[in-house]
């Protein structure tokens, strides 16, 4: 039985607590975590804060679907995904993806798969408050390319 959890929340999350919860399964062996943070610079502009909009209802469904796909594709014991919405300051954590597995290869792959899928499929939109202006973040082609390598042959 694989533990799977998704959360979309305005509150700050505690990486240490989420890591500990994944690691507490004694057959885990390998725990891989990814945390994305608000950067202080983007495309040469100083960033002061970030606002994250999402599509309540669809967001949770897509994240749960991505977790199911990861569990089907990789040999993993636990998968925990948290994504924040609302206003975030520079350096705050935006997203956490944690995977526990008996095998480090599966843990790494599942974590990267979930991030690539989330980046291209989960309905979140970022708006950056810079020193000069406010702008919606553009989709990156590199994210579309990253997700393509997971396409089933």
């Amino acid at each position: 039985m694989t533990f799977s959890r998704v959360s979309v929340q305005t509150q700050v999350f505690d990486v240490a607590e989420r890591y500990a919860s994944l690691a507490s399964n004694s057959s885990a062996g390998a725990v891989v975590t990814f945390v994305g943070h608000v950067r202080d610079m983007n495309l040469g502009q100083t960033i002061q804060s970030l606002e994250l909009e999402h599509y309540p209802g669809m967001t949770e469904k897509v994240l749960e679907q991505i977790n199911l796909e990861a569990i089907e594709r990789f040999d993993i014991n636990g998968l925990d995904v948290v994504h924040r919405v609302g206003v975030l300051d520079v350096n705050e954590a935006i997203v956490f993806v944690g995977v526990s597995s008996a095998h480090r290869g599966d843990a790494f792959q599942a974590c990267e798969f979930v991030m690539d899928a989330l980046k291209t499929r989960a309905p979140f939109w970022k708006k950056e408050q810079g020193s000069d202006n406010t702008a919606w973040v553009s989709h990156r082609d590199s994210d579309s390319q990253a997700v393509e390598r997971w396409a089933k042959k």
């Binding site: 909009e53 997203v95 991030m115 989960a122 309905p123 979140f124 939109w125 708006k127």
Partner: protein
């Protein structure tokens, strides 16, 4: 009735987050493309925003193509490419 939701850049461009089309406004089943055409016809100032080539769609909270069909009581969402994570 079809409920249409707009998000992010598109929501700001249109100045609203949703519109509702009554069942006599559009015959169903109809495609997302027909809805886009209908909205642009009703609101000529929305033309540019709604003809942006990068728009993405969902029907009942599932990713959809512009050619996919909508029936009554569907929730349709139109939005720019996602940028989370």
């Amino acid at each position: 009735m079809i409920q249409i939701l707009f998000f992010a850049r598109l929501r700001e461009q249109l100045g609203q987050s949703k519109v509702q089309l009554s069942s006599d406004a559009l015959e169903t089943p109809t495609s997302i493309q027909t809805v886009l055409d209908y909205l642009q016809h009703q609101n000529p100032s929305w033309r540019d925003a709604l003809s942006s080539p990068d728009l993405c769609f969902a029907i009942d909270q599932e990713q959809a193509q512009v050619t996919d069909l909508i029936s009554q009581n569907c929730e349709v969402a139109i939005f720019p490419p996602v940028t989370g994570g």
